[in-house]
Assembly symmetry: C2
C-alpha cells in the first residue's frame, strides 16, 4: 500500500484500483493461502474430496429501496451470481444483518420477504444467520452480509481462472450496462431526478446453468457489479497473455441511463450492474450460447460485444462508434460509493 495513504478512503471499497491495492497489500498478504491467492469471485475449496465454491459479500447500498429492488434483493442476487459465475450450482446462503436502532420493522420485513422470494426462485436455502443491532447513528439503516456455498463440477473448475481462454474467443454480455448504478443514483434523496431507471438486479444462476448445459466452450464468467463491465475486462487482461477488443456499437446502454450518465459525468462502462454476466466463449459456440441467453428473461438483450485478441497484448481496447480506440483501464478512484 502506498505509504502516503494513512486512512481508508471511499475508493478502497470501489472494486477498482484502490480496492485491489488494499487486497494485495493487506488482506491477501496477511491471510495468505493458495485458495485466497486465486482472488476469484468465489473461493474453490475442497471438502471430503468434493469441490465447492464459497463466497461472501456485504451490502451497504444507499438508498436501501430503489426502482427495481432493495438491499435484500442485492444480497441474494450478489451471492447467487458470484457462485454461478464460478460454474457452481448455488445451494446454501448465510445472512448477517446489522441494523440501526429505530429501524422500522415494516421495512425490515419488506427486505426479508424480498430475500425469501429471490432465494426460492434461485433454488437456494438460507440456512444460518445472525442479527446485530447498533445504537442510532452508528450505522446507516441496515447493512447485510451474505455468504454462499455451491457445488462445483470438476469440469468447470477452469472457469474461475479463465486459464483456457485463447485468442478468437468471443465476449458476450447478457444485456444493457449501467442500469443498476444509475437507478440507485437517481433514487438518492439529494438528487431531484425525474427519469425512471430500473435496477437490473436478478439471480442469474438458472440462465447460466442453461448456457453451461448448452456449451462446453464457456471459458470464463464474471458478474459485472462494482466497477462495471470496464473493471471486469481490465481484470481479465491483467490475468492473461492476450488483449481484448470491444466494439462500442455492440454495447447496449438504455437511453435514460446514457442521459443520466452524461448529466452526472459517469462512464457507463464503469457503472455497476447487478444482473449482468460477462462470458468468454469459444468462437464456434458463441452463437449457441447467445441463443440460450436470449431465451432467458434476463438475457433478451444479450450480445457478442467483442473478442479475445492476440494483437492487443495485455490491454483491453474499446473500438469507439466514431472509429477511434481507447484503453479500458481499471478505475482508479471511486466513481459511485455505496452502490451495492
Amino acid at each position: 500500500m502506498s505509504k502516503e495513504l494513512k486512512n481508508i478512503m471511499l475508493g478502497h471499497g470501489s472494486g477498482g484500483k484502490l480496492s485491489h491495492d488494499l487486497i494485495d497489500s493487506l488482506f491477501a498478504y496477511h491471510f495468505k493461502n493458495e485458495i485466497l491467492d486465486q482472488q476469484s469471485d468465489s473461493a474453490i475449496i475442497e471438502l471430503n474430496g468434493d469441490k465447492l465454491a464459497y463466497t461472501t459479500d456485504s451490502f451497504v447500498v444507499d438508498p436501501i429501496f430503489f426502482p427495481g429492488g432493495n438491499i435484500g434483493n442485492l444480497a441474494i442476487a450478489g451471492t447467487v451470481n458470484d457462485l454461478a459465475v464460478s460454474g457452481a450450482i448455488p445451494q446454501y446462503i448465510s445472512v448477517g444483518f446489522i441494523i440501526e436502532e429505530g429501524f422500522p420493522f415494516s421495512d425490515l420485513e419488506k427486505i426479508v420477504v424480498s430475500m425469501a422470494e429471490d432465494a426460492a426462485e434461485a433454488g437456494v436455502k438460507i440456512v444460518t444467520g445472525d442479527t446485530k443491532v447498533v445504537d442510532k447513528g452508528k450505522c446507516d439503516k441496515v447493512f447485510i452480509n451474505t455468504s454462499g456455498i455451491g457445488v462445483l463440477k470438476d469440469s468447470y473448475i477452469h472457469i474461475s481462472s479463465g486459464k483456457n481462454i485463447t485468442p478468437g474467443d468471443k465476449i458476450i454480455i447478457n444485456g444493457s450496462i449501467g442500469d443498476h448504478g444509475m437507478a440507485v443514483m437517481a433514487a438518492r434523496n439529494e438528487l431531484n431526478i425525474q427519469t425512471h431507471i430500473e435496477s437490473d438486479c436478478a439471480c442469474l444462476n438458472h440462465m447460466i446453468a442453461g448456457a453451461l448445459k448448452e456449451s462446453d466452450g464457456i471459458k470464463f464468467m464474471r458478474d459485472a457489479t462494482r466497477g462495471g463491465l470496464g473493471t471486469v475486462l481490465s481484470e481479465l487482461v491483467n490475468n492473461g497473455n492476450y488483449g481484448i477488443s470491444i466494439e462500442e456499437e455492440k454495447l447496449t446502454v438504455h437511453e435514460n441511463v446514457r442521459g443520466l450518465c452524461e448529466l452526472l459525468g459517469f462512464d457507463p462502462l464503469y457503472v455497476a450492474n447487478e444482473g449482468k454476466v460477462v462470458m468468454v466463449v469459444a468462437s464456434e459456440d458463441a452463437d449457441n450460447v447467445l441463443k440460450v441467453l436470449k431465451e432467458s428473461p434476463f438475457g433478451k438483450e444479450a450480445s457478442i460485444i467483442g473478442e479475445i485478441s492476440s494483437s492487443y497484448d495485455g490491454t483491453a481496447w474499446l473500438e469507439t462508434n466514431v472509429g477511434g480506440k481507447r484503453i479500458i483501464d481499471m478505475l482508479s478512484g471511486q466513481q459511485l460509493p455505496r452502490i451495492c
Copy 2:
C-alpha cells in the same frame, strides 16, 4: 412479533428474548426450511452426501480494541467456536469488512494481523472476502462479518440438537464467566474504570477436539457468548423434557469481574464470554472430560457446575450460595449492547 413494537430496539440484537422473537416471527418465518428450523449455532448441511457445519456472525463490538483482544480476534474465535461446538472441525472462513471512511490503515492492519494469527493457530484458512467502505459517520469505525464451514462426522450430528441428553448428565464449563463483557465495558471511553479485566476471547476448537477424542459421552455443546451462561442454560431447558440444576458455588467469577458487575448492576450469569463452552456430558465421562479441558490453556478453571435433572421439569435453577434457589430465565431486555 408483538404488534406494539414498530421499530427495532437494541434488545433485538441481545441474544435474549427479543432476539428470539425477531428470529421466530420474521427470519425463521419467511426463510423457512428444515435446516434453518434447527436454530443451532451452526446449520448442518449436506453436500454430495457429506455433512458440513455452516455458520455466520457479524461483529460490531465497541470499542474495537479492548484488554485481551480486538474485533478481529472476536471475528475468528466467534465463528471457529460456533463450528467447534457443533462437533465440526472448522476449515474455511469468509470475511466481510464494512469500514468507515477515514479509518486508520494502522488500526485495520492490527485487526487483520490478529485475524491471521488466530486463523493460523486454529488451523482454518480465510479463503474469500469482501470490503465495503461507507461515508464518514455512516458506520462506527469497522464492522466485520465472518462465516465458516467445518466438516462434521455423522457420529457427532446429535450434538447440535442435544437430543441424547438425559437426567443425570453433568454440565461443565471450561472456566470463569463474565470476563469478556466486563473487559469491554471497562474499556468504554465514557467509563473511567481503573480495574484491569481481560477478555477471555479464544478459539476453542483444539480443546474441544481433544474432549471429543477422549469421550463419546459429550451430548451437547454451546459457546456462551451474547446472553452469557444464563441464556445457554435457559435455551437448553426450553428445548428438552428436563430441568437443570446449577450450583452457584461451582461457578467461577473473577473478583474484578464480580466487583464491576456489582458496581454496574449486571448479573455475571448473563454477561458475554468469548472463550467459554458449556458441555453436557454423560455422568460417567464427566471427570475424564474435565481432565482433558484442564490440560488446555483455555480450560484451567474448568468445572462441573451442575446437572440435568428430571425433577425441575423444563426449568433451569440456580442453587445459590446462601441456600436458596432462583430460576435462570431468558434475558428479556438488552443487558449490554455491542459487546461482540
